[in-house]
Symmetry: C2
């Protein structure tokens, strides 16, 4: 059984923004962006429970940010960078370029 992946033309910017607007999911996207290609989900350093991780993977996939496939018994995931760049030019680059806030003095 394969999981739902929205078509590129059907991506909604508010879903993409909401999916990116979470520190765990944003860290996943940064990690995927830093090493193009597929990664197994277990290879990403996530400090959350398996159930929480599963929720975040689903939100990212259903928003159209990631693509999942089976890699043997593991789940592999990749960033849909080309789809996102074509559908929402500049958005992912701007998000990835965002810096942390300045430290309070």
């Amino acid at each position: 059984m394969s999981s739902f992946h929205p078509d590129r033309d059907q991506l909604l910017v508010e879903h993409v923004l909401a999916a990116l607007g979470n520190p765990v999911r944003l860290s996943i996207v940064r990690e995927l962006a830093s090493s193009p290609g597929e990664r197994t989900c277990g290879s990403l350093p996530l400090e959350v429970t398996k159930a929480t991780a599963t929720h975040h993977w689903r939100v990212l996939r259903e928003a159209g940010i990631t693509r999942e496939s089976r890699a043997g018994r593991a789940k592999a995931v990749s960033l849909r960078r080309a789809d996102l760049d074509q559908r929402f030019p500049g958005l992912l680059d701007a998000v990835l370029a965002a810096t942390p806030p300045a430290r309070e003095p």
Copy 2:
């Protein structure tokens, strides 16, 4: 009493993304972007209850997307466009440029 507004340097991209990742708030931001300057909150066409609108105004303000002030007995609101553009270059432009999804055939 004045409401909390985060300093530009303290804005968090995940808060901004989460605030924008909602259709009502995104429509508010689009409306504010289309007519620079202050608007009274009541002048924006929102099809939600007053309590819901108040919630959305607060989320936008606390994320650093809008600035609120008093305009007599009304509340005035403006987009913090310069702050957002300086803190997260290209982000707001990419969001505002996003188009709706293609219609299903």
